[in-house]
Amino acid sequence: MNQYINQMLEIKKLHKSYPIGKESLHVLKGIDLSVQAGELVAIMGSSGSGKSTLLNIIGMLDEADEGEYILDDVPIKNLNEKKAALYRNKFLGFIFQSFNLITYKNALENVSLPLYYQGMGRKERQEKAMFHLGKVGLTDWAKHLPNELSGGQKQRVAIARALAAQPKLLLADEPTGALDTTTSYEIMDFIQELNDEGKTILIVTHEEDIANMCKRIVRLKDGVIMEDEFVNQVRASQYV
C-alpha cells in the first residue's frame, strides 16, 4: 500500500454497548482501525459480531460510547442531528442491501436527491445526476421508476445516488445481498472500477467471494477485530 496517501479514517479504542433490559450488551469492545484514502475494505463477521454497529458508527447513524473517530481529519463527536445530517451529506455515500430507492421517484430524481439536500439548483442537480447515471450506464433508464428496473439496475441507481454527492467515503452494507451471483459480480466489478478511480470504499459482507474482491479484509468476532489482512484482489471482471 502507498503509505503517503493521507489517512481517510482513524478509529481508536471504540466501544459501544446497547442496553438490553437491565443488562447491557457490549457490542464493540475496543476497535482500532485506520483506513487510507483509496482503500477497498471488506468488513466480515457473522451476525452479532458487531460489523453492522461498526458501520453505523462510521456512517454517523449511531454514536460510540467511548473512543475516537476521525474522518478525513475531522473528529466526529458530540454530533447533533443537524450536524450529522450535514456530515453525512458531505462525507458519506450509502449503498444498501435493499437499495432503498424512493419508490415514487424515477431514477434521475433518486440520484439527484442528495444534491437537493446540498442545496444545489434544480438544473445543475439534474445535469449532475444525469452524469452519474451515465457513469453506471443507465442514461436510457433515467425516467423509469424503481419498480421498472431489475435488481442490478436498482443497485446501480443506488450507487449513482451515493456517488452524486461526491462523498469521501462510500459505505456499502451487504451491497450484493439481494442479488444473484452474476449480478453481484457485475456490481462488484463496478465497485472495483470506482476504487480504481481512487474512491475509498468500505463493504460489510458475509460472503467470502465478495470479500476476496476487496483489497483488505477485516474480520470481526464478538466485538473485536480478529484478523486484519491485505489480500490479493480477485477481479470481478473475469466472471462477468
Binding site: 453505523n56 447513524l61 449511531d62 442531528e81 432503498n100 437537493y116
Partner: protein, 409 residues
Amino acid sequence: MFDLDLWREIFQSISKNKLRSLLSGFTVSFAILLFTLLFGIANGLENTFNSFFKDDAQNSIFIRPGKTTKPYKGFKTGRDIQFKNEDYDYLKENFGDKVQYITSRVYKNLTASYKNEKSSYSIRAVHPDHQYLEKTLVYDGRYISAKDLQESSKVVVIGKLVEEDLFTKTLALGKYINLGGIQYKVVGVYRDDGGDNEERMIYMPITTAQKIYGNNDYVDQINLTYNPAMDYDEALSFSTLLTKKLKDRFDISPKDQRAVRVRNMAEASKNVNLMTIVISGVVLFIGFGTLMAGVVGIANIMIFVVKERTKELGVRKALGASPRSIVMLIMLETILITSLAGYLGLLVGMGTLELIGDSLKYYFITDPSVSTNLIIGATVSLVLAGAIAGYIPAKRAARIKPIVALRDE
C-alpha cells in the same frame, strides 16, 4: 421564505401517493361537510322558532275587552265591556313610566278599490306607536303621524300585498284609494315579517276611523309594550297590576277571567328563548363532537402516513436531510392537503345548504345557513389539529436513526 424545490417535493409526494392523500383529505372534507350541514340545519331550526315570534315586539301586552261572566256591584252577568279613548289616556297617564309604546286599535273590514281593482281588507285604525309594536317596516313613504290623528286626515298606510293587488301598473304612494265610498291618500307602503296576512292590512289614523265609521270614541283593543328595562318578574307583576286596575275601573269581579283579557308576551318569549338556548347548546355540542371526530381521524391518518413513510424518511436522512427538513416536508404536506380538503368540504356543505335549503321548510327549517367565519374557524382548527397531529410523529420520524428506519422491512 418560499422554497420552490420544497414545494415541488411536496407536490410530487402528494400526486404520487394518491390514495394516502385522498384518505387524509377525505377525513377533513367529511368532517367539515358534516359540521357545515349540522350547523346550517340547527340555525334553520332556530330561524323557524324566531320567525314565529318575530311578528310582534317581544315585550308586548295585549289588552282586549270581553263580556262579564260574573255579577258584581249590582251589574248583571253578560255585560259588554267597551274601551274608549279615555281608557287609553288613563293607561298612558297612570303607567307612563312603565310603558314604552302604546296604541289603541279599531278594527274594520272594508272593500278597497283603485280604478278597476277591488278587494276586501282588514283595516286597523291606530296610534303612531303601533308601528313599533307590530314591527311594521315602512319602505315607501311614511307611517301614520300624530298630525294625522289631530287632523283626522284621510290617509292610509297599506301593506305590500295590498299594493300588489290594487296597483297593478303603478306605485301606490300618493294615489287615492276608495274605502267604503271615501277617498284616502296612500302615504306609505310597508312590509311585515309576520307573513302574508300582516301585509294585507290597511292602517289609518284612529281618529279618522272613529269619526267616519260611527262617530264615537270606541276602541276595540289596546296594545302596549312595557319598558324593556323590566325583567321577567317585573313584567308579569306589571300585567297583573294592569288587569287589577282595569277591573276596578270597569266594576268587574276580581274573579272574572273573561271581561278583560291581558296577554303578556313575556311568558311566551321566555319559553322561546329557553328553547333557542337549548337548541344552540345541543348544536354546539354536536358540532364540537364532529370536529373532535375529525381531529382524531386526521391524527390517526397522520400517524399512519408517517409510519408508511418511515423508510423513505430514513433514506432521506441517510442522504443528508436535516431533521428540520423532514418535519417541514410532512407538516407542509399535511397542511396543504387539509386546507384544500377543508375548503372543498366547506364549499360542498354550503352549496348543499343553498340547494336544499328551501325544500326543508316543511321540516321547520328556515333558511339554513352558517356564518362563513364559523366554518372558516372550524376548518382552520382542523388544519391546525392536523398539523399538530402530524408534527408529533414527524418529529419522531425525524429523530429515528436512519439505520433503524432502513432495516424496518
